[in-house]
């Protein structure tokens, strides 16, 4: 088990956002957390990545309690994340953004007199990540001037550049046009494979994306786990479909997606 949440409770004042959530992620899994708005998905990711401290329960990474650890410590352990709202460094170029992550990974952030431009290793790694995410043509462009889809890719690419053991993506395709969603997801999954990042946990609203890419789906509702299983298991779960999607007709759609996925995999 690479990441394990045990009986997590988290309150916002009197409101219980997570009510005894237990979740285990195995190495090599692609897990999607789904649920309606306000179900506690982002809180769960925030607790798992140290952004929020759980009020009760523990979070174990490779058997080690990491609840309340600083993001910097989590990064060093091999946990990376991206945010729901796109996070870039407006004053930095695409290349510089990726360099920040690579510098951090290599532990070179305190090199205060070395010429960054002469550090070939940092440059090479940053260029490799840019290449995998299709960002090479915009390498020297300011991050703030990129289209929304490219910003999202850069945000995720910089987290990937840390080469973590597990990556947690909070709605990686939110705010992106429907046409771009699949392209972005495909790029991410391919990049993860090439970079050896085997374990991904994502929060996602788009069910096409969820059913197309996940090994396992965890449905959250009112701060509790409603269901936890493979896409095949969940596509027939009426409770999940009605709660998360709100439409029974989606059964058919998900079945079609899964059949298409199986055909591609074969």
């Amino acid at each position: 088990m690479i990441l394990e949440a045990r009986d997590i409770k988290r309150f916002y004042g009197g409101f219980c956002a997570l009510d005894g959530v237990s979740l285990s992620i195995r190495e090599g899994e692609f897990v999607s957390v789904i649920g309606p708005n306000g179900a506690g998905k982002t809180t769960l990711i925030n607790v798992l990545t140290g952004f929020l401290k759980p009020d009760e329960g523990s979070v174990l990474f490779q058997g080690r309690d990491i609840a309340g650890k600083s993001p910097e410590e989590l990064t060093r352990l091999g946990i990376a994340r991206s945010f729901q709202l796109v996070h870039v460094f407006p004053g930095l170029t695409v290349l510089e953004t990726l360099q920040v992550a690579v510098i951090s990974r290599l532990g070179r952030g305190t090199k205060w007199l070395a010429r960054l431009a002469s550090d070939r290793e940092v440059m090479k790694e940053a260029m490799e990540v840019a290449e995998l995410f299709g960002l090479t043509p915009v390498l020297n462009q300011s991050s703030s001037g990129l289209p929304q889809g490219a910003k999202k890719l850069l945000d995720v690419a910089s987290a990937f550049a840390l080469r973590p053991r597990i990556i947690l993506l909070d709605e990686p395709t939110s705010g992106v046009s429907t046409a771009d969603k699949n392209r972005i997801m495909r790029t991410m999954v391919d990049a993860a494979q090439k970079m050896g990042i085997r374990t991904i946990l994502q929060v996602e609203h788009d069910m096409d994306i969820v059913f197309s890419y996940s090994d396992r789906i965890v449905a959250v509702h009112q701060g509790r786990i409603l269901a936890d299983g493979s896409p095949e298991e969940l596509q027939g779960n009426e409770d999940v479909i009605c709660t998360v999607v709100g439409k029974k007709e989606c059964f058919q759609t998900f079945q079609t997606i899964l059949e298409a996925r199986k055909a591609t995999e074969q």
Binding site: P71, F83, F89, A101, G109, L116
Partner: protein, 322 residues
């Protein structure tokens, strides 16, 4: 590059062509510029604005006063080493508290520490001379005793070139810092601390490092300034002096590496010119600051950049037309 060579040539020729008083005045440019290199590491590269940087100028200046006047230690190199170490130490101790905060809270804390030091200087009369301050004796440069030279010849000659070399070395050092791995990480913190933290950048630790480096530069500037003024008093660390430094950075354009230096040059000569006909120079400078913020937030460097771009554009379209 051409501008740099041009500046260097002008700086070397200046003591031979400028009036003695003007050359003397430009010594403040070197001291302030070194201090502003430090201030701008915080302001532009880390996104923290200090309203108490005169504290470090004061530490540097009073170090020179103590060493030369009280202990007759006249080696300028030793004075600078002690000034940098002391400023670094004070920056480290105050920084441990200040860097926990950002924006106005950081600014107010730095201002508070500056004013605490001001009160300390005022109240400890026996040690610091209180509001009367302390005399600064002319130091030895590279162990050379130049006390036989008259004051103005010393400052417009050996001390000028000594300051110029130090300024160039400090500018080169800061250039290396902002173009290093550390410099880029600071800029990431400035732009988006949350994101930087999740990329493994230790934001509080890096801010503290930046604060200490910044304090060291300001301390060095203060030590270099002390022999020029010949006297240190609490006005050196008063908050308006910190404000002057921020004003210089804004005037020149803090978002450009060279902007604050240009700002200090213009500030020093403009203040001299304005105060020669009115004692209300701060009134004029206040109006100038307001106009600057509204009309040219990029400062003089921003204006020069725009002028250069339109000139290049005009030339480009001229070439196209022909």
């Amino acid at each position: 590059m051409l501008l740099g060579i041009g500046f260097l040539l002008a700086a070397v020729v200046w003591p031979f062509v400028g009036k003695e008083y003007q050359v003397y005045l430009s010594l403040s440019f070197f001291s302030y510029s070194i201090a502003l290199l430090g201030l701008n590491l915080l302001f532009n590269y880390t996104g923290l604005i200090s309203f108490g940087h005169a504290l470090f100028l004061g530490i540097g200046g009073y170090t020179a006063a103590f060493m030369t006047h009280k202990y007759s230690i006249l080696s300028m190199e030793l004075i600078m080493v002690v000034a940098v170490l002391l400023s670094g130490l004070v920056a480290f101790l105050t920084g441990l508290i200040c860097v926990r905060y950002i924006k106005i809270y950081f600014a107010m804390l730095t201002l508070a520490f500056g004013m605490l030091f001001h009160s300390f200087l005022m109240k400890t009369y026996a040690l610091t001379g209180g509001d009367e301050g302390m005399h600064v004796t002319q130091p030895k440069l590279l162990s050379m005793d130049l006390s036989q030279m008259d004051k103005m010849s010393f400052f417009s000659g050996p001390y000028y070139f000594y300051s110029l070399v130090l300024f160039l070395a400090a500018a080169f050092l800061m250039w290396r810092i902002v173009h290093s791995h550390f410099g880029l990480s600071l800029q990431a913190i400035r732009d988006n601390p949350d994101k930087a933290e999740y990329l493994g950048v230790s934001i509080r630790r890096y801010r503290l490092y930046a604060f200490v480096i910044s304090g060291c530069f300001a301390g060095l500037g203060g030590a270099l300034m002390a022999p020029v003024t010949g006297h240190m008093d609490p006005a050196m660390v008063f908050w308006t002096h910190s404000g002057d430094m921020v004003f210089m950075a804004l005037l020149g354009g803090f978002s450009n590496f060279f902007g604050p230096m240009l700002g200090s040059l213009v500030f020093i000569f403009l203040r001299d010119a304005v105060s020669s006909f009115t004692e209300y120079w701060r009134f004029i400078f206040g109006a100038l600051l307001a106009a600057l913020v509204i009309l040219a937030p990029g400062g003089l460097m921003g204006l020069l950049g725009r002028a250069w771009a339109s000139l290049a554009g005009a030339r480009g379209s001229g070439e196209q037309a022909t």
